[in-house]
Symmetry: C2
Subunit: 261 residues, 2 copies
């Protein structure tokens, strides 16, 4: 275990940048996983991080001791920081002081859609993005494709909201969704308040690609017109629509239901 | 229309407090609805606000002109502010400068649960709270009961996330949920990863009360033990649970589906 105590240390300064700056994270292709749950999930599902960063007081914490122990047994890198220095790079209030620095996978689309997938066209809110990833993973969907205008999936807020879903998903970013839909070997389903076919009346027992859009504007018209089906989630109240993450959850688990009946 | 140009004006200073301080909002029993959509919804569903506050530049905006016109025709109160003063009380970035000051209804539970309802035990995140209210309203559920430890439903963040759902719901706060469940004339359903009965196997064609809990800890054990049914949403992936708002949406719309089959 290495210890840094000075704010002027070059390695610490890089962590400060990584924590505070989205552009730095994208440029370096790295992000920070903050908190016990994310670090445990990563260790279990993806293996060793580039580095584990712990606050001095967290070294007394049982779950953190376990994480550090696993890393040291496998010759991983552990960096200890005084609590004040750790706090300056953590976004979790009242959290337990542990984080991983990890590489963010960059995937290129290599073939046509052939299995269950989620396509996100300009989803903006990190909480929504994280909730959609989490629901997709819980519903057994593995592939997620995001347009250039969507929120960055590997930001700390999205990571926190997704609760480890990232580590069981294959996430593709900056994807040309129109091309993906045109070449898809599965049906593409978009929800729309104007559609006449109900979600419940579509046969979801084969793989489909779910298409969701921007919180305000929905899926872009040119992309929507490429979808195989437009379906409506029937509403009983006076409220006009669902939050995009709620809408996605309803769709994913209607598919789970149909496959289990 | 009245105009205030000084930051030292007593009425403006009260608005600053109302905008920035949750305790003030609770104490005064008032809140601010920020943005065109919330104001339009309130006018349509609940009627005149105590006051409409507009920025000077927003007075040129078509939808705001329409709102102000409706208020003046019905002798409502409109207050115009210079853009800089408006911006200081608005939490919406790049928004159109219009908000309503409205009374927050305080309801007392007056009888046993007898219709569809949502019971929230310590839901913390304003985005989750708003999404649940929005989904409930869209699914035609009208009654929402929140425990003392839940997020305040009338905070600006919850209001924004709920997109007007507040105005078609009867929301009860600081409710003794255990007493409510004990006296209920409808079944109470809680979701749990440990339950053996699937959501899809419960008959939801009669009214039920849905019980959801804190994001991390779930429903408190003593309350959970009072629920008539514990049900599981089947998961296909390695991710252990759904976000509470996603979970609620799946439940509400499974009920909609069963009632429409």
């Amino acid at each position: 275990m290495k210890t840094i105590t000075s704010r002027d240390n070059a390695q610490y300064k890089e962590l400060v940048k990584l924590a505070g700056n989205a552009a730095t994270r994208r440029k370096l292709g790295r992000t920070l996983l903050d908190g016990v749950h994310l670090c445990q999930s990563y260790l279990q599902l993806r293996g060793l991080p580039e580095q584990c960063i712990v606050s001095e007081s967290a070294l007394q914490h049982g779950e953190v001791m376990d994480i550090v122990g696993q890393l040291e047994a496998r010759h991983g890198h552990v960096l200890a920081l005084p609590d004040s220095l750790f706090k300056a790079i953590s976004q979790v209030e009242h959290g337990i002081g542990v984080m991983f620095s990890v590489a963010t996978p960059e995937r290129s689309v290599s073939g046509p859609l052939a299995v269950n997938a989620v396509l996100l066209d300009g989803v903006q809110d990190p909480g929504n993005m994280g909730s959609i990833l989490r629901s997709a993973a819980a519903a057994g969907i593995r592939e997620v494709y995001c347009s250039a205008g969507s929120a960055y999936c590997w930001s700390p807020k999205v990571l926190r909201a997704a609760m480890g879903a990232h580590f069981v998903l294959d996430i593709y970013e900056n994807v040309d969704l129109a091309e993906l839909v045109r070449n898809a070997r599965v049906s593409t389903l978009a929800t729309s308040g104007y559609a006449t076919q109900r979600l419940y009346d579509v046969d979801l027992r084969q793989p489909v690609a779910w298409l969701f859009g921007h919180e305000g504007q929905g899926v872009a018209d040119d992309l929507l017109s490429l979808a195989t089906h437009q379906v409506v989630i029937p509403h009983l109240g006076q409220v006009e629509s669902l939050n995009v993450a709620a809408c996605a959850a309803v769709c994913f688990f209607e598919q789970v239901r149909q496959n289990q009946v």
